[in-house]
Amino acid sequence: MDKENLQHLFFESEPGKEIRKCIQCGTCSSSCPMTDAMDFGPRSLFALIRDGDMEAVINSNSPWMCVSCYQCTSRCPQEIPVTELMYSLKRIITQTKEKTQSNKAKDLHRSFSSSLKLFGRVTESFIMAKYSLKHPLTGLSSIPLAVQLTKKKRVELKMQKVGSPFKFRRSFKHLR
């Protein structure tokens, strides 16, 4: 989809047009716990959107890094619902099936959501494993912590699931 339409799509998305109010003060970016891991903070992201540089926007890892702590939303002097805007960005990217650079955070989303889609509930160890397939190094580096947890009998190897994953999958598949 061409970038202008993407920009248009964003402004139309609830509550996309809110970012027109942004005064670029940076309160959101500096309130964000994950900002150091983002290639663009929310503020920069909004500036890019207003510039129509959607290429940069959809390839940015920022929306995926957002952990929904809502600190930005609670502090924005213009009362812009920053967290919600991150969600709508992710939705647009997912729904338009845009080819975008992969990034760790996005892969974590994927692992989580496949576990969810398959079983109706998620199991940390499963997410972990699935994610580690894509990022073996992170997998390895987190082994010591995993060991600690296992020692404390806190790692569930049995899959958590709803009563009938099959039924769940079927109705979930038809969504959106």
Partner: protein, 288 residues
């Protein structure tokens, strides 16, 4: 008193949350009825894929709860709390979304008709239980126990505004009422980074270090959490080098100690940072 309970995916593997919650609830005559066949709330993930799917996830558990005759749902996890609460808001305020959700629920013979309210199990324990039970364990010597309450981000935000969102005093007031010394610190609602920890261990570690620093400044004997993700993250990353180590319990485990419930029923052994110093200190209190 009976309540519908939504455990969430992290409940069972959490460090003694389940055990201690059950113990404290039976002490207070609270019966938590697990919603049969509940499903994952989608946490911060599904809402980023499609509003419809995320609302469906919530609606399904809601419908199941309605089916068992409860419109008020308790949960002990901040992420579930916020996700479900937001969904409940959307569903009750937007007819079309509700219809959409019901359309898909139909295939499982489910339907959501009532308005659902979400509450953190802590709210019930603090506000809806008879005072006498608490008072009978009151002990002034508890002032010597310094507790740092850690709310995490999603319990207060986005629901509360003003000081309440960054420097709440809800848990503090309750614990002070019991006699504890609830310290006032600057890390109460800092994000622990749990949701993004896996790909960003370095950041999660830094965030937890800050929380530990804020708490250490008030020389707290323990951190009290109300969310399995917070507890996991704060407990786990404090074991990393050069981070202050402060026992990090679930609030239910502290209340368990307050009620002098047998330790083995509180799952304290599952904590990574040993709560021994705290337990000792509490046991050696000479009642005043």
């Amino acid at each position: 008193m009976k309540y519908a309970f939504f455990p969430g995916c992290a409940h069972d593997t959490s460090a003694g949350y389940k055990e201690s919650l059950d113990a404290v609830c039976s002490k207070l005559d609270i019966e938590l009825l697990e919603i049969p066949d509940w499903n994952c709330c989608g946490a911060t993930i599904t809402a980023g894929e499609s509003k419809t799917s995320s609302l469906y996830l919530a609606a399904r558990s809601f419908a199941l709860s309605e089916k068992m005759g409860y419109t008020q749902i308790l949960t002990g996890c901040n992420a579930c709390y916020t996700t479900l609460k937001k969904s409940a808001k959307y569903l009750s305020s937007d007819k079309h979304r509700l219809e959409a959700a019901n359309k898909h629920l139909a295939s499982e013979g489910l339907e959501l008709t009532k308005e659902i309210t979400i509450q953190h199990v802590m709210d019930i324990i603090f506000d809806k239980t008879p005072k006498p039970i608490w008072d009978s364990y009151k002990n002034n010597a508890l002032q010597n126990i310094n507790i740092a309450c850690y709310y995490g981000c999603q319990y207060t935000r986005p629901w509360l505004t003003g000081p309440q969102s960054d420097r709440p005093e809800y848990i503090e007031n309750f614990l002070t009422g019991l006699g504890f010394n609830a310290v006032n610190h600057s890390a109460k609602t800092l994000c622990c980074g749990a949701a993004g920890a896996m790909p960003n261990a370095d950041i999660a570690k830094k965030l937890v270090a800050r929380i530990a620093d804020g708490v250490k400044k008030e020389s707290a004997d323990a951190i009290v959490t109300i969310c399995p993700l917070c507890q996991l993250n704060v407990d786990m990353y404090q074991t990393q080098p050069d981070i202050e180590q402060i026992p990090t319990l679930f609030f239910t485990q502290l209340l368990g100690l307050y009620f002098k419930i047998d330790l083995e029923n509180l799952g304290l052994d599952k904590l990574l940072i040993s709560p021994e110093p705290l337990i000792e200190k509490m046991q050696n209190l000479k009642s005043a």
